[in-house]
């Protein structure tokens, strides 16, 4: 899969840009806040209609302009597609090959993109939110059904919270049943994904760290246990909601459930958030990203495009070299932003293009 060209207008601080990309490595360099990450975000939006920066539509549109427009030309298995995304007051509208697309399923997957950002390096030592957000994003990039299920769960959660806020029991058990049902399916998908990528993470971690340490991913469903969910199904969550109903009515919100799930990153049985060195944490996240790419490649028959947002400054020279070696071998298209080109290990990479990004203007350099 390749993105060969992109046109951006009125998007974030980019008034207008047209960029022709290299099929292998693309380096976007410039000072911070100039629009480098916005180019990556535009590519990601063309794949998923969503931002990886937790942004709402108005944040994406240049201030004082009515709407933003993104157009991308992507190629997959020799077939080219033109993807257009309109972001404006009337919401987000998409066209593929100039035909309007109404179903997310028809849009999804034309560009498969994986992001690697400093936020993800931070997740090895942060609270559960970043890890859960990462897990959700990783799963839905290969499974549209998961995205819809995730929406469904959160819509149910909002409705149930609204009812709890009114202090009303009228119909509460039905919303609770629905939430438990969707929540259980969500947890089962999370467990399934983690089981798929754990062996890959283990292998890549060994390759990076070179030792005998065994990496693992331990799913931590909120206030319950994976085997309990597997054994009892929806009953596990129903029991949990039942036990907290009085508290939830008092506080006017849902206090337990999969929206608070976590996953532990483990080395030799020890959680690295608390017991790992900074080096181990970085190697782990790197192995996790490699596993995610490998998984998507197996699933789709072609590797995704990789968006590396200012990663080289977060990884030490050794791990940068590990990553570059992996990417060279993968023959995948990579987009790299950096403030300092000298930190990139581009030796041995013959084909690359580089662009300078300054005050929203992108120029080949």
């Amino acid at each position: 899969m390749f993105v060969t060209k992109i046109q951006i207008s009125s998007f974030r601080n980019i008034a207008a840009a047209e960029i022709r990309f290299n099929r292998r490595f693309n380096v976007l360099h410039g000072a911070n806040g100039q629009g480098k990450t916005s180019v990556l975000e535009a590519i990601y939006l063309l794949g998923t209609m969503k931002s990886f920066r937790l942004a709402k539509t108005p944040d994406l549109v240049t201030w004082n302009t009515p709407h933003a427009l993104l157009r991308g030309w992507a190629e997959r298995d020799g077939v080219g597609r033109e993807i257009a995304l309109y972001l404006g007051k009337e919401g987000r509208k998409a066209r593929v090959d100039q035909k309007p697309v109404t179903r997310l399923a028809d849009f999804f997957g034309n560009v498969n993109a994986v992001v690697f950002s400093p936020e993800e390096i931070a997740m090895a030592r942060s609270g559960p939110d970043l890890r859960r957000r990462y897990l959700d994003r990783a799963i839905f990039s290969g499974d549209l059904g998961y995205l819809l299920l995730h929406h469904e769960y959160h819509r149910l959660l909002k409705q149930r919270n609204a009812l709890l806020k009114r202090g009303s029991r009228e119909g509460l058990d039905i919303w609770t049943n629905q939430l438990a049902e969707a929540g259980t399916r969500l947890m089962v998908k999370r467990m399934g994904y983690l089981a798929e990528i754990e062996p890959l993470v283990r292998r890549f971690y060994r390759e990076i760290a070179g030792g005998e340490e065994e990496a693992g991913l331990a799913f931590r469903p909120h206030l319950t246990a994976p085997d309990q969910v597997a054994r009892e199904g929806t009953d596990a969550l129903l029991a949990l909601f039942g036990a907290h109903e009085a508290e939830e009515l008092r506080r006017g919100t849902t206090v337990v459930g999969p929206h608070r799930d976590d996953v532990d990153f483990v080395l030799n049985g020890r959680v690295i958030r608390t017991h790992g060195s900074q080096g181990q944490q970085r190697s782990f996240v790197l192995a996790l990203k490699m596993a995610e790419i490998e998984y998507l490649e197996r699933l789709n028959g072609a590797p995704p495009v990789l968006l590396l947002d200012d990663i080289s400054s977060e990884l030490d020279p050794q791990r940068n070299a590990n990553l570059m070696a992996f990417l060279r071998e993968k023959r995948m298209q990579v987009f790299i932003t950096t403030t300092d080109v000298s930190t990139l290990r581009l030796e041995g990479i013959a084909t690359h293009a580089s662009f300078h990004v300054s005050r929203g203007t992108v120029t080949p350099s």
Binding site: E90, R103, R155, Q159, L163, E170, G171, I174, W175
Partner: protein, 197 residues
């Protein structure tokens, strides 16, 4: 010019209250209305007519000019009742010609976020109709959204103790889609394959 014309500004404001109409569209519509005064007069007349004549049927709560509506006063099958969210959903099911029973319009779906609790829907009226004893099957055709599904489950629980069979339009209609926008063939297939709740 716009500032000096109060009635024009009011028209723009009213148009913008319509679903899917933004500032630009309102402006385009308003100028169009001014350009073709005869059509506009006919539209104004029709709006007035709708307001004075069209009301909700006192039995099914669909829209009608006569009360009860034609569907309710016809000789259609009284043993089968189809429950929908909105009057336009009734039309969507009716277009399939696959359903020969009667209808009940809830005028919404449960949504605590929007303050829609069971007492805000036409559920009490539905229960009174069912207690009449003629209905043997209720087909729930609420939307396949989170709210529509929850409403269906809520209704099933209320209705089942009456010993009435409750079925749900089978899936095959994509989740989150409004019945109104699904083509007739899809709704027809769903009607044929309805499942027990």
């Amino acid at each position: 010019m716009l500032q000096s014309s109060n009635s024009f500004a009011r028209l723009l404001a009213e148009l913008q209250k319509l679903p899917g109409v933004g500032e630009k569209t309102a402006l385009r519509l308003a100028f169009h209305l001014l350009k073709y005064p005869e059509n506009t007069a006919a539209l104004a007349e029709s709006l007035g007519e709708v307001l004075s004549r069209v009301k909700f049927c006192s039995i099914c709560f669909g829209i009608t000019e006569e009360d009860p509506c034609r569907l309710c006063s016809s000789d259609r099958d009284e043993t089968s009742l189809c429950v929908v969210e909105e009057p336009q959903d009734l039309l969507a099911v009716e277009r399939t010609r696959a359903f020969r029973g009667r209808y009940h319009v809830l005028q919404g779906a449960l949504s605590p976020l929007n303050g829609v609790t069971p007492d805000r829907l036409r559920i009490a009226e539905l229960m009174r109709r069912l207690e009449g004893g003629a209905v043997r099957e209720v087909v729930i055709a609420t939307n396949f959204s989170v709210e529509g599904e929850t409403t269906a489950l809520y209704l099933a629980r209320q209705i089942k103790p009456l010993g009435i069979r409750v079925t749900r339009l089978a899936h095959g209609i994509p989740l989150g889609s409004d019945l109104e926008y699904v083509d007739a063939a899809t709704v027809q297939r769903a009607l044929e394959g309805r499942s027990e709740l």
